[in-house]
């Protein structure tokens, strides 16, 4: 809660931004749409929609193999996109940026190629209670195969990772710490740079699930000091089914390919096959070329707006929600992280999150309800799930007003 922030709303021209997102201009159930499910997926600006359409209209062909003009253009667009995404997270080189279908696939790639081949009995992987299933289940799956153990890092009731408990867990058995940069369930911004320092000291590698972070502020993988960083395009105004894994070069070099097929090979013969170099050895098959083009367009878009203003604007909407929530006796915020990013998770006393979600939908307000793919966290806090409003750059103070008016109406209907 921040009183100053309420009195002076930051100057950020949200109405200009809204014009870039055609989907926002529609009615749902007879009301202008209020889209507050940005943590699940963000909407796409015209720049992204047009880049994908234009790629298919003018340049489409397969990459890296043709001798013809279209294949060459497609390859250039594809590799230029890699450069753009790579620079976006300040990677030393685009060789370290592997295209995947999203955060989930990125984490699975590390689990199957690195962890399964490196870890064994007695080794430990630490993940926090806050994690999304994508940062829990792959580790459990490979642990069942290689004999390692997945251990949860405790979380305080505020929704912050308990750093003292983490320090206590970090011994020589720990080979990997896998934590989210921002919790999709509570919005907690984890002190990942500090976690990297702590893990390094203990000799463990660190993977950061950056799915929820990249949309909010610039990420610098070198400054963070992590070993792997996983993220998705669709949480960053880009297309779905597209993402990337960034990794330290020597680690990626040491890892065997995970999927076999075309594109990832050097020479194939029945007497032995050799593999392509980075990043291609991890990119078997025809990739999502239009996805890469859209991903880069999304990043160019994000970099064309006032990012700092956008972040302050989102923070303002969150602070406003927390204040309004405090004034509503039936509303109970879930978690109160020291630093939260755009996510307001709550319960309405005496109701189930799904009741609230359905009644908000009737009023044209889109929120997410349920466990947010974080069942261990919900179980830990003994919650049936939460209602989650998640803000993005195009949300307005009016959206917050509509949310709270919608909640009052839902409460009247349910009581």
């Amino acid at each position: 809660m921040n009183a100053q922030q309420q009195s002076s709303a930051p100057v950020f021209d949200v109405n200009r931004i809204r014009q870039d997102f055609p989907i926002l201009d529609q009615e749902v159930n007879g009301h202008p749409l209020v889209y507050l499910d940005n943590a699940a997926s963000t909407q796409k600006p015209n720049a992204v929609i047009d880049a994908i359409a234009s790629y298919y209209r003018r340049d489409n062909a397969n990459v890296h193999r043709g001798v013809h003009a279209l294949s060459d253009r497609a390859t250039q667009a594809f590799e230029q996109a890699r450069e753009t995404v790579s620079q976006f997270i300040n990677s030393p080189s685009s060789r370290q940026l592997i295209w995947t279908s999203g955060t989930t696939a990125s984490i699975n790639l590390v689990a199957y190629s690195w962890a399964r081949n490196t870890l064994g009995k007695g080794d430990r992987i630490l993940v926090s209670w806050l994690e999304h299933h994508a940062d829990i289940v792959p580790w459990q799956m490979i642990s069942a195969q290689c004999g390692a153990e997945v251990i949860p890092i405790p979380v305080e009731t505020s929704g912050d990772i308990d750093l003292d408990a983490l320090a206590g867990l970090l011994d020589e058995r720990v080979k990997l710490v896998a934590v989210g940069h921002v919790s999709n369930a509570l919005g907690t911004v984890n002190p990942v740079s500090q976690i990297c320092t702590m893990a390094k000291k203990a000799g463990a590698k660190v993977l950061i699930d950056g799915a929820q972070a990249v949309a909010h502020w610039p990420v610098d993988v070198q400054a963070l000091g992590c070993d792997f960083y996983a993220f998705s395009a669709h949480k960053l105004f880009g297309p779905t089914g597209m993402g990337a894994l960034w990794g330290r070069e020597e680690l990626l070099e040491s890892m065997p390919p995970f999927l076999g097929g075309g594109e990832m090979i050097d020479q194939v013969s029945f007497s032995g096959t050799t593999f392509n170099t980075l990043p291609f050895k991890f990119e078997a098959g025809t990739p999502n070329i239009a996805g890469a083009v859209g991903f880069a367009a999304a990043i160019n878009y994000v970099q064309s707006i006032d990012r700092e203003g956008a972040a302050l604007h989102e923070e303002h909407l969150l602070n406003l929600s927390v204040q309004r929530g405090a004034d509503m006796p039936a509303l109970r915020r879930v978690g109160a992280p020291r630093h939260a990013a755009g996510i307001f998770s709550f319960l309405i006393d005496g109701t189930h999150p799904s009741d609230v979600g359905m009644l908000l939908d009737q009023q044209g307000i889109a929120v997410r309800t349920g466990h947010h793919c974080a069942q261990p966290l919900m179980e830990h806090f003994e919650l049936p799930g939460t209602v989650r409003a998640s803000y993005s750059i195009y949300n307005t103070v009016d959206d917050v007003d509509r949310l709270f008016a919608g909640l009052e109406k839902a409460l009247r209907l349910l009581s």
Partner: protein, 144 residues
């Protein structure tokens, strides 16, 4: 068991739900009606809230118990969400106190279409309607 106090399939049948819902022209009234229907479900004893009676595929918890009396299936269902309880009532208006054959013959899609006034009756939503219906039909199939 407690089925004697269950109005669904007895005094409140599918036709009644269709008729009453069609009467409201405001979504708030329709939801109020559905929520109130849910409140008429007889209470399910806590000890029946077991893992085996839980229906998967619903965002809220939905439990189901059944018995056969005079060749008619009697269902006891419950949920931890108000609107879902209302949806259970809507489903039981069609299925409770019916024979297994009638349950399997009942055109549930048409019923939901007639209730189209409520988008949330659409089986594609995360409301678990599809899972509830599948479970009831399963029980009916086993009872034939």
């Amino acid at each position: 068991m407690s089925n004697s106090t269950n109005p669904f399939g007895y005094t409140i049948k599918a036709e009644d739900v269709i008729e009453t819902l069609g009467f409201f022209d405001d979504w708030e009234d329709r939801y109020k009606y559905i929520i109130d229907l849910g409140k008429e479900l007889p209470a399910m004893p806590e000890d029946l809230h077991t893992q085996e009676r839980l229906i998967r595929g619903c965002q809220s918890k939905v439990w189901i118990d059944s018995s056969v009396e005079n060749e008619r299936l009697q269902f006891t269902m419950d949920s931890d969400a108000f609107i879902v309880k209302g949806l259970i009532a809507v489903v039981l208006a069609a299925y409770n106190n019916a024979s297994a054959k009638d349950i399997l013959d009942f055109n549930i899609d048409e019923y939901f279409q007639q209730l189209d006034l409520m988008q949330h009756l659409s089986p594609t939503r995360g409301n678990g309607l599809q899972a509830m219906v599948a479970r009831i039909q399963d029980i009916a199939r086993n009872a034939v």
